[in-house]
């Protein structure tokens, strides 16, 4: 199972093509927020850019607090989203330790589902889909020895 990583953000030019692609292709929106990946600077453009996206936690705090099952743990990390089940309580965004879930004004959550559709729209190859090395799938020290 793969996850999206913003592996080379020092190359980022701040074009927002990734978030626009996510919004366009995944969420059918014209937006740079309603997307699973959002780009921001930390103190102006001179400081370069950061990507806000799901880090594929396992266990995922957002899924743990979701009261309706709209977010459920994905095998080995990240979550599966079922938008129809969402009651827009916003608890997922509160629980996310890295501010990776965007809530729009109607409290709809937008988060990365690790589909990788943004990757081909990054002109500088900042993004990458990588195999998850899950602690669950790792042999324990005892097993390894």
């Amino acid at each position: 199972m793969k996850k999206l990583t913003a592996a080379r953000m020092e190359r980022c030019i701040g074009c927002h093509s990734c978030s626009l692609a996510c919004a366009r292709l995944v969420h059918k929106q014209l937006s740079w927020n309603k997307a699973g990946i959002r780009i921001r600077s930390a103190g102006g453009l001179s400081t370069g850019f950061q990507a806000r996206l799901c880090l594929a936690c396992d266990p995922a705090p957002c899924a743990e607090v979701c009261p309706t099952g709209a977010l459920t743990q994905r095998r080995e990390g990240g979550v599966i989203q079922k938008r129809k089940l969402c009651i827009r309580c916003g608890k997922c965004a509160e629980a996310c330790p890295v501010d990776a879930i965007f809530l729009d004004h109607e409290v709809n959550p937008y988060l990365c589902i690790h589909c990788g559709r943004c990757v081909e729209y990054c002109p500088h190859d900042c993004l990458e889909m990588v195999e998850i090395v899950s602690e669950r799938s790792q042999p324990t020290q005892e097993e390894a020895s």
């Binding site: 030019i13 701040g14 074009c15 927002h16 093509s17 626009l20 919004a23 366009r24 292709l25 969420h27 059918k28 929106q29 014209l30 937006s31 740079w32 927020n33 309603k34 959002r38 780009i39 921001r40 600077s41 930390a42 103190g43 102006g44 453009l45 001179s46 370069g48 806000r52 729009d104 004004h105 729209y121 002109p123 500088h124």
Partner: protein, 582 residues
């Protein structure tokens, strides 16, 4: 489409209120430059001076903004402090997408705040805050403070002015997101006159996309063309700075107040050397994968024992011309230090460089004294130019106060009009020949991008006035259409009329797609009419003597041909801009 009409935010700084207006006219004027002219017709006052509080400061985007790559610019329109006529300036950064996602096609600001203020506006935001404590602060440190005062990092644009804008210098710029500018014609002074230090545009909304695959499929095609082919290489790689060496080679790069068009010492400021030695990284406007913004660095030793500081400075061709070759600067750190100073002060870099080049020659010729210039001005002397730039922005004395109103204003008092490199406004860096000089002198924005006059010079040896002027008029028409969309003009090789039509159709603007030729004519006409109504007389434009003395790779400029071009182009412009009696 989001809507078939225009949604306009009208801010009144006198009362601290905002209205949301709806206006028709999309099918006649498209957006951007067309919309801005229409709004000036409604809210502007042709008969009042530029700094009358009631004059509007207008920002406008187009129907494809955000929808397609490189539809990433904003048009800013205002009555210019430079000539007290209607003017436009264009910039990118995050401004266009912030406006799109802030749910506005245009932002019109009128009135004057009681104290120096910052405005925040967006789809669900309106706030006017006192920032009198920022008076006199440079554009970059102002940005740092404003950034912490308002929310929305990553989904907002920040427009601000430096001391030059507050002091109403006629070529003060509006800094957009640090590395972009509404540079020419003094938009920064208009903000200063409104007591407005900064504008934060928060882009917080999203919009549903059309059903079906046509849009996403076309987007993918356009994106691939822009990123997978070599079509945009020149903007992404060396950037426009690549022109420095090329134009120097062509004997078309202005040096030392256009006394020369070539210098063998160009090496340190060529695009190649800048990229190899000074380039830190590229950046992009939001919605553009090209990344044409080139950021270099300067470093300075501020203390013994190897204590250095460094600053990041955006550079490109026009900057390397204006505060590089035009001032005889042949060291890349010196050029970047000058760019940095101009940036901090919030001046237009081209006007600043050209004005100081004139002042230097005026001092050489004894028309102005060091007592007036406060520092000795000599080509190649960067430290003194840095001091002079601050004096300009801060209007330190009568000389700088006059020079900050334009080179010709200073020349009227001190003499030296013959060697003022002014083509409507201080020149752009293309000493390519007669067609460009006439085109920039008369063109709507006095920008080399109004038309491809500079390119025409390079492609045509023959002297055919009618052919050249037909080209200028038709080329302007195609560019005004792009400027109404509002596309970055670097994309003009990609966005043919046919592609623009398909793009408009794919997001539901079918009628617009079918109306493009008439729309282009309407936009061209309303822009010139608005300009003429505010006092523009193309026939009165003169091209200073210095331009008749230029020698390019084609040989000396032909003054008679240039005069014939000027006369005919002026006639055609006034024909287009004629205002009917009704």
């Amino acid at each position: 489409m989001i809507r078939d009409h225009f949604r306009v935010y009208l801010v009144d700084l006198d009362t601290g209120t905002m209205q949301v207006l709806e206006r028709d006219g999309r099918e006649q004027l498209c957006g951007g430059g067309g919309l801005a002219a229409m709004l000036f017709q409604e809210f502007g006052h042709a008969d009042r001076p530029w700094d009358d509080p009631e004059q509007p400061l207008i920002f406008a985007i187009g129907p494809l903004t955000g929808y397609f790559p490189l539809m990433s610019k904003t048009v800013c329109a205002f009555k210019s402090p430079y000539h007290d006529q209607y003017a436009e300036s264009h910039a990118g950064g995050r401004s266009a997408l912030s406006m799109r996602f802030g749910d506005m096609d245009a932002l019109v600001i009128r009135g004057r705040a009681k104290r120096l203020s910052a405005l925040a506006v967006g789809a669900r935001t309106f706030e006017l805050r006192d920032v009198n404590f920022l008076r006199g602060r440079d554009a970059l440190s102002c940005g740092r403070v404003i950034r912490d005062m308002f929310p929305g990092s990553g989904r907002r644009s920040m427009l601000r002015i430096g001391p030059a804008g507050e002091n109403r210098c006629s070529y003060a710029c509006i800094n957009v997101d640090t590395y972009r500018h509404f540079g020419r014609m003094g938009a920064g002074a208009v903000m200063g006159a409104k007591n407005l230090k900064a504008i934060v545009i928060l882009g917080d909304r999203g919009f549903p996309l059309p059903e079906g695959k046509a849009y996403t499929s076309l987007f993918k095609d356009v994106y691939k063309q822009l990123t997978d082919t070599s079509i945009m290489d020149k903007y992404h790689g060396l950037g426009t700075a690549g022109n420095v060496g090329a134009l120097n080679e062509l004997h078309a790069l202005p040096w030392r107040n256009l006394q020369q068009t070539h210098d063998p010492d160009v090496d340190a400021i060529t695009g190649e050397r800048m990229a190899e030695d000074r380039l830190l990284r590229n950046a992009a406007c939001a919605g553009c994968p090209v990344g044409c913004i080139h950021i270099g660095y300067v470093r300075e030793k501020f203390q013994e024992n190897y204590q250095y500081l460094y600053r990041q400075v955006g550079y490109d061709y026009e900057l390397l011309f204006a505060v590089g070759s035009m001032l005889g600067i042949t060291d890349s750190f010196d050029a970047l230090r000058l760019m940095d100073t101009v940036e901090l002060m919030g001046l237009d870099v081209m006007s600043t460089g050209v004005a100081l080049a004139w002042a230097t020659e005026a001092q050489e010729k004894g028309l102005v004294t060091e007592e007036q210039t406060l520092v000795p001005l000599a080509f190649g002397q960067a430290d003194d130019y840095m001091a002079a730039i601050e004096h300009l922005a801060r209007n330190s004395n009568e000389f700088y106060s006059l020079l900050s109103r334009g080179t010709l204003k200073a020349a009227e008092v001190f003499g030296g009009g013959d060697f003022a490199c002014v083509l409507g406004q201080e020149m752009a860096g293309y000493a390519t020949g007669e067609v460009f000089f006439a085109a920039e002198g008369l063109g709507f924005r006095h920008s080399h991008l109004d038309t491809g006059g500079y390119s025409y010079d390079q492609k045509h040896e023959e002297q055919d006035v009618d052919h050249a002027v037909d080209f200028l008029v038709e080329d302007e028409k195609s560019r005004v259409l792009l400027c109404a969309m509002v596309s970055c003009l670097f994309a003009r090789g990609v966005y043919s009329e046919e592609l623009l039509g398909r793009a408009l159709e794919s997001v539901g603007y079918d009628k617009l797609a079918g109306a493009m030729p008439s729309m282009a004519e309407n936009i061209q006409r309303i822009r010139w009419q608005t300009r003429v109504q505010t006092g523009y007389d193309a026939a009165a434009v003169r091209i200073p003597k210095r331009f008749r003395e230029v020698v390019t790779w084609k040989g000396p400029v032909d003054p008679d041909y240039m005069e014939a071009l000027r006369t005919e182009y002026a006639r055609r412009i006034m024909e287009i801009g004629a205002v009917s009696e009704e």
